[in-house]
């Protein structure tokens, strides 16, 4: 291993740098959204606390665990690919997709419950934030699953190897970003008061 490659690997994160620029932009949006939630809450703590109590913490816990497990699956998929265990890698990716699906199902049931109760974006400021933040994140989960499915398909077709799997790393970091955002969103919107 030459010195140039070593510094190169030290300095840049895994995956394509383009996805990192995209991730930073996305994280910036979420950061502003989170801060906006916290400061909007200052304006009417009682309202936020009251409606926060109507949220389903059990579902949120299940979803948190699903996303963390999904992230873990992708880590294992990469580890397997690094050892050229292609079939194992694909299995881990499919498991990650399963976790994503679980998240979508649970979240959809939550939405169905709220919609049936007549909750809309315009109902009040708390629900506006709750629906906006979680729906924006929900779309990210779908996006992450589309990316993972493409990666899994390519892995299945033999597109990656222990030597070259940048594409899988790229898809992986995006999926972790989706997890990362939820790990802030869950305590902020469901628990903290």
């Amino acid at each position: 291993m030459t010195a140039t490659i070593a510094t190169h690997q030290d300095r840049y994160p895994p995956g394509d740098l383009a996805i990192w620029i995209f991730i930073l932009a996305e994280l910036a949006v979420f950061a502003i959204f989170f801060a906006a939630y916290a400061f909007a809450r200052m304006g009417d703590v009682a309202l936020f606390d009251h409606y926060q109590a109507t949220l389903d913490k059990d579902a949120a816990l299940l979803n948190s665990l699903a996303l963390i497990t999904g992230s873990y699956c992708v880590v294992r998929a990469l580890a397997a690919m690094r050892e050229d265990h292609r079939a194992a890698s694909v299995r881990w990716l499919i498991a990650a997709l399963g976790m994503g699906t679980l998240f979508l199902v649970v979240k959809s049931l939550e939405y169905a419950h709220h919609l049936a109760a007549g909750v809309r974006l315009s109902t009040n400021t708390f629900y506006m934030f709750y629906l906006s933040l979680t729906f924006f994140h929900f779309m990210h989960v779908i996006m992450g699953m589309v990316i993972l499915a493409a990666v899994a398909w390519k892995a299945h077709r033999g597109g990656y190897s222990a030597r070259e799997h940048t594409g899988m790393e790229t898809g992986g970091v995006y999926w972790h970003m989706v997890d990362l955002v939820w790990l802030i969103l869950f305590p902020l919107v469901y628990v903290m008061r």
Binding site: L17, A18, L121, S122, T166, T170
Partner: protein
């Protein structure tokens, strides 16, 4: 070693990101469409009613005389003449006052000052314009403008 920053990934992000945000924007637009009936006073616009017909005619006259070329309406337009989204309330919830103002514009303007053209509307047309401006003032604009001066 793979390239760190590839054009194909940048392209994928452009296509994927664009589709993503188009869908998000459409989803928000859908919710907006469902919510607007509570805010936009559309019950007044029913073309089978006299008021609805007057408002439609008023908007037509508003457009045919390019009022937006000097005034703003709900803050949009030119910034040369006063805001008219709230002119109805500014004139004391009085349609007659609006009509009287439009009618009293001199044909050759006021020397040295910004002048509104003389439009020579009929009384029915003036009614329609005033009705349209009244309707505009009743749209739920989230409290804008900050005060009656517009």
């Amino acid at each position: 070693m793979a390239q760190v920053f590839t054009k194909s990934m940048a392209r994928n992000i452009f296509y994927g990101g664009s589709v993503f945000f188009v869908l998000l924007f459409l989803a928000l637009t859908l919710d907006t469409s469902l919510t607007l009936p509570e805010r936009d006073q559309r019950h007044q616009l029913d073309p089978s009613t006299e008021v609805g017909q007057r408002i439609a005619e008023g908007k037509r006259l508003w457009e045919h005389n390019n009022c937006i070329g000097c005034h703003t309406l709900l803050g949009e337009g030119a910034y040369f003449a006063p805001e008219l989204g709230n002119v109805y309330t500014r004139f004391g919830n009085n349609k007659e006052a609006i009509k009287a103002f439009i009618q009293s514009r001199p044909a050759y303007g006021i020397p040295g000052r910004r002048s509104m053209p003389r439009f020579n509307f009929s009384d029915a047309e003036l009614d329609a314009i005033a009705e349209f401006l009244k309707y505009s003032s009743e749209i739920n604009t989230a409290g804008w403008p900050p005060n009656k001066q517009g």
